[in-house]
């Protein structure tokens, strides 16, 4: 028999470790699965529109994936997936959609402008700012390289 204190110690030792392992497995499985859906969407689009350029295909795919992510967030499923999958649901583009929709819905009670429209970018704002800034930086570097050549 374990005493109460021994049990608590044992619980502390065991619990975080097993939880960590399960989050890793879940992240891998869910992340891989979402990417496969993306691949399927782009394959189907290529089948339907064989003349589409690669750029158009990837734009269509990300639009569809963002819609799926936003819709699943709206009906409350995506956050449930996120509880188990962690990064598996955050890192795919559906997670980006989730990060836009989720705060927009949550702060709707604060009004249309200051609630929905402002709070939409609470998480997505840093992503857009860092992405645009760094890509402009990359462009400028390539411009300078072009000048030297």
């Amino acid at each position: 028999m374990l005493s109460r204190t021994e049990y608590v110690e044992l619980d502390k030792k065991m619990a975080p470790k097993s939880k960590e392992w399960s989050t890793l497995v879940c992240a891998f499985l869910v992340g891989g699965f979402i990417c496969c859906i993306g691949q399927a969407v782009s394959d189907v689009f290529k089948l339907c529109v064989p003349t589409a350029s690669e750029k158009l295909t990837s734009q269509f795919t990300s639009t569809v994936m963002i819609f799926i992510g936003a819709f699943l967030t709206g009906i409350g499923i995506y956050d449930n997936i996120g509880k188990h999958a962690g990064a598996g649901s955050i890192i795919p583009i559906t997670g980006f959609a989730n990060s836009v929709v989720s705060p927009a819905m949550e702060f709707r009670s604060e009004g249309m402008v200051f609630g929905v429209m402002c709070k939409m970018f609470v998480i997505a704002g840093p992503i857009i700012v860092s992405g645009v800034t760094s890509s402009v930086g990359v462009g400028i570097v390539y411009w300078i390289i072009g000048l030297i050549k």
Binding site: C35, S42, F67, I75, P126, S134
Partner: protein, 120 residues
């Protein structure tokens, strides 16, 4: 066909696995994780590694936010090659316009249609 999807699954899963390891080790918030992976995508595109991974893994690397970063950087590079310095400003957003507009539009519409549930 099946091999393609296995590759997509493996690489996509691996990217998310790395993200989860980062979360578990550093307790990063989802915002920081997304920014980190976006910047990784920008860097991979800038050093021209991204296309090799993309040829191998397809959606496994383009669906994670890494692909969004690469789209931005690729657009900026192409813009510079076509229009000179101003292309660095216009190219990135132009390339990412579909994704960004979709996220904003669907985000707005869906927050109008659905009501937030009380968080458990």
């Amino acid at each position: 066909m099946i091999v393609t999807y296995l590759k997509v699954f493996a690489v996509g899963g691996l990217v998310c696995l790395i993200g989860q390891i980062l979360i578990n080790l550093t307790k990063m918030t989802s915002s920081k994780i997304l920014v980190t992976f976006l910047l990784i995508g920008v860097v991979l595109e800038a050093i021209k590694v991204f296309d090799f991974v993309k040829d191998f893994a397809g959606a496994g690397i383009t669906i994670p936010i890494v692909g969004f970063g690469s789209t931005l950087a690729k657009g900026a590079i192409e813009g510079v090659q076509k229009f000179g310095l101003i292309g660095a400003l216009t190219g990135g957003m132009q390339a990412a316009a579909a994704g960004l507009s979709a996220a904003i539009l669907f985000g707005f519409l869906i927050s109008l249609i659905f009501k937030a549930r009380t968080k458990v």
